[in-house]
Symmetry: D3
Subunit: 238 residues, 6 copies
């Protein structure tokens, strides 16, 4: 089985890190390829970045000409685009935001999300709401760190643990890493906090593998019908 | 006062029609300029189109170099992008989806939306939900017509009246034209149905004028802070 | 265009102040007349006052014999009566509670209301809920001041700023003046808080003008049908 | 124990009928007095009537000088006023709308309400929502009969049974008589429908007796604090 | 009238205490019998205990061969089983969790629950939600005391008063005793807190009496149809 | 990896069928053991059966002395017990109801459930609600067949297809088999309906495998803490 993992931004180092996280979660027979969008923001923080990212990721998948794949994992926590990718491709599509929430719901009565900047909290709440998994979300809290500031592990961990306490006070019994760039952090913080911590990248890989194994793919009956053939220009150069 | 009205697609005739509708609603002192995105879909029907449209509209506003304007009206019913534009510009931004719903709430206890294809209903429901005005929406129903099929007025009117009965049966006391391309239809169907019908383009123009007159603009305190300076490539040509 | 602005209480000074606020917001061609109920409470604080006010305002409009008007603005934040006035008159009716919320939704992802006494918070929450605009309300907080204590501007401003911090902590990115008697305060507190502050009186005037300009009025198809002719006695003297 | 049952309208025959229903439900030691408002509508159908009724009922209780009572039952299905009466009096207050819903929740997973005119359905939904008991309400359906048309029992029964089928189809397992004027109908329709039918008047009497017996009364800590002393004029004669 | 009050656990002293509370609330003509399950947990704290308790209580009622009774009161705050008992018996069934909430809704705009261990809060929230009365619940807070630690009245009272302040801060205007073992505490804490405090045992007795007096019982039309005859083994011994 | 799949009833043939379905979904290295409760109902239809089943399944796991296992799959669609099992065991627990819903959410914007008897629909709705995945459920519809009537495949299929049309009309784009006894039916009905159909047994196996692979298990921080040591008697024989 081959899974394409799309980064939501153009930073190759981030793609590499996400792929590492995805491979760590993948089953033995699963191949994981990272896909960095050919355009878009160098990190996605806020709605403007997120819509730019959505279009760029869709375009990158649309013009992809690598080996055939069995599923798409979209690695942009709280970022837009999943419904568009579902229209585009004929294989299952799993976004790390919803994936983390789905697994978190199985592990405790309420879960919390710890993310980067304050400004992304609202987007994550909206994403969870529309994915149908917001009911048992107790809180989305920020660490105050930008996506590209996550490179210092000690600082990230300390900020995460601090924010986690706010989520716990709000009722969270399980936590979710609220940024693809946090992948890998889950074990150390889980141990220190004494509660399970779900990484969306790993969660999405397992859900994608599950759907493929069960022979399930996106419904074409309704919302996610194939795009209607028409003129479309993808960027200024078009 | 100058309002820029952005079309969500690249079809110039549609922009012209939207501008006609906007000018019909505008106050004497209000100038209305139409803006057709430099790229994107030729009509927006579904999520893939909508995300492409969102990025293209944002990019078109980002690179706009015409006369200064006081507000933006986004004319794409149910389409994405409004939060990103709010981050980008320093003037009020009103999306026709939310605008129509805001006014409809003032006219009856429950409203309904009549739109184009079945596949767009879900997107509209999501857009209303996140805008905070879904509670009193009784139904979003489709006419079965594509955006570019709205050119035959008699057919559009008949399809609208038929769909309107479903909305009424679901409790709607007010209707909303669920596509910018329906602008102009409101009076004739309102008369035939015996209930108010709100056109989102006109509604958005009045709300934009209202915000400008009151000296109000988007909050920078939280979700819609200015975009963080960083590398961003807008489309393949970059 | 002529708009009648109804005060929810019998205090003429309050009517005068509301009219000042309404006129400040009105377009050049809009005439604003204040209407003080012929009976009712001298200030509305709590449900008993609010129901008394609702009946008195309806009766005052019912027996009004001044110049014809094009819209009604109801200036009682959180007070009852709007649906009854919609049944009564043939022109658009806008309540300042809902009006402020409608505009606030366009300015930020979540808004907050800062009002007078603690006891009125619940009524305001109910009013927003039924108007269909409560979803994006982060908090309704009180200043602890009674309606008739708002005459000291410095004290009011200080209490407002203090309460505003609670609303901000709850997620509000935009604020609403939660009492008609606060009209005029919006600019100074907006500047000090660094976020937009919406005055319901001004908001309602602009929404009323908008509806009139668009030729829209209350739906008669359903909830707000004309009152059925029958015997009714309006007060003890009847 | 003495319970005052307030009619929401000025029709004495209706008061008499309500009192009959209340007495049929009352425990042996409970005295039931009917109170017809001194002013207000002759029947309450719609919001205008309802707000007029609310003020009139409050005023009638405010100026009541009969024997002391232990509880108030408000007999106006879907009508406004209960919160105001809670502020006014020092004894428990039970509205028949909420009372019927409270008991109905104990008898089945979902209940339905069968009421008079279509225009009152929305008011009833609002009343149940604010009372906190709307979640398990499957439907509020109308018989199409006005309050004063309920005098023909055969016609009322037939209309009720017909409307009841719509409620059942929507999932109702229990029904509620949605008008004080239907009191007495519950047994015959319950038998014909094979499901429990709750009369709000009887339900409210039992709930009022229950609260009195338990020594419970309205909380003064918050929303329903005593009205603040101030000038208030109750109707034109004032 | 005879009411059977089922304890949710096997502790006879608890049954005795519950029966004392029930008798204190019962009308003169009402006989109250306590029923201690023949098996199950010695106290119910958490879901495992609660499901065990549910099965044990149902089995105990199924095999009951005492005098005929008119209603069942289930005395386990937040515990499972009420829907199963409704299927089993032909008389009204009232659970103390929902009963307390129903009466609390009549006494204030928002109520709070003060219960034993933190781990039971979630169960109580779920129970209120499914009973249809969670909307006006402001908070469920714990005292930190286990069910069997409630034997020291001074300690229980102090812990209750402390937790009550958290509920009040969250908006509660009325409180509910969140454990059958707290029965009897309501008056002293109500006085100290200055707000009504509802005991679920007393509330359920009054609601059961009310339903019986009105001739109402569980609907068989839908969810709570009689159990289908089939093989069932009740415990290992079977 | 070894997964124990618990049947919710005592019918061995049903266990065998569930195990077949589970093994068909399991990864090569996953061993699946079926566990038939030592007591309980021979089929679970309604709340009484469901609570009996919950206690029996918990007891059966509590006294299980077979080989160590890595996860529990609970195969009773809409049946109670999952939270209790989460308290009991130290490995992940996945209920087929929530599992099917989690995967269905990834495949379409709205899903529907097709189940057995009408009386079980409410229980399933409640189960989805508390699991946090009800938001995107468009409908739960019944085939009218009892659990033990599912043995005739042609009849089951026909009834399923008929009920599926009702779910589709309500907006479902994906379907869920609403009974463990339907396992195996998914492919044929998916083809005939042209939409994905999720089997809860297979879904739960994949989710259980995913959690185990990611090293995740139930949170002990809050709701699902280990049961408190105390006296408990499991059934009459105790």
């Amino acid at each position: 089985m081959r899974i394409v993992v799309t980064n939501c931004n153009t930073t190759q180092e981030m793609t590499a890190e996400i792929v590492r996280g995805a491979r760590a979660a993948a089953a033995p027979g699963t191949l994981v390829d990272g896909l960095t969008p050919g355009w878009g923001p160098e990190s996605a923080e806020g709605w403007l970045d997120s819509y730019l990212s959505a279009a760029a990721v869709i375009d990158t998948l649309r013009t992809y000409d690598g080996p055939a794949y069995d599923a798409v994992v979209m690695a942009g926590f709280g970022e837009h685009g999943r419904e568009g990718v579902r229209e585009l491709v004929d294989v299952p599509v799993v976004d790390i935001t919803e994936a983390a929430a789905h697994l978190a719901c199985l592990l405790g009565r309420r879960y919390g999300v710890v993310t980067t900047l304050e400004r992304t909290c609202g987007q994550i709440e909206d994403s969870l709401e529309l994915a149908g998994v917001a009911r048992n979300c107790a809180a989305v809290v920020s660490t105050g760190l930008g996506v590209l500031e996550l490179t210092d592990p000690a600082r990230t961990e300390a900020a995460f643990l601090n924010a986690a306490e706010h989520a716990r006070a709000a009722g969270a019994e399980v936590l979710v890493l609220g940024c693809a760039g946090m992948t890998g952090l889950q074990q150390v913080v889980a141990e220190k906090l004494g509660m399970p911590v779900v990484d969306g990248v790993g969660a999405a890989v397992k859900l994608a593998e599950s759907l493929v194994a069960l022979g399930l793919s996106t419904s074409r009956a309704g919302s996610y019908a194939k795009p209607i053939p028409k003129g479309r220009a993808w960027g200024r150069g078009g």
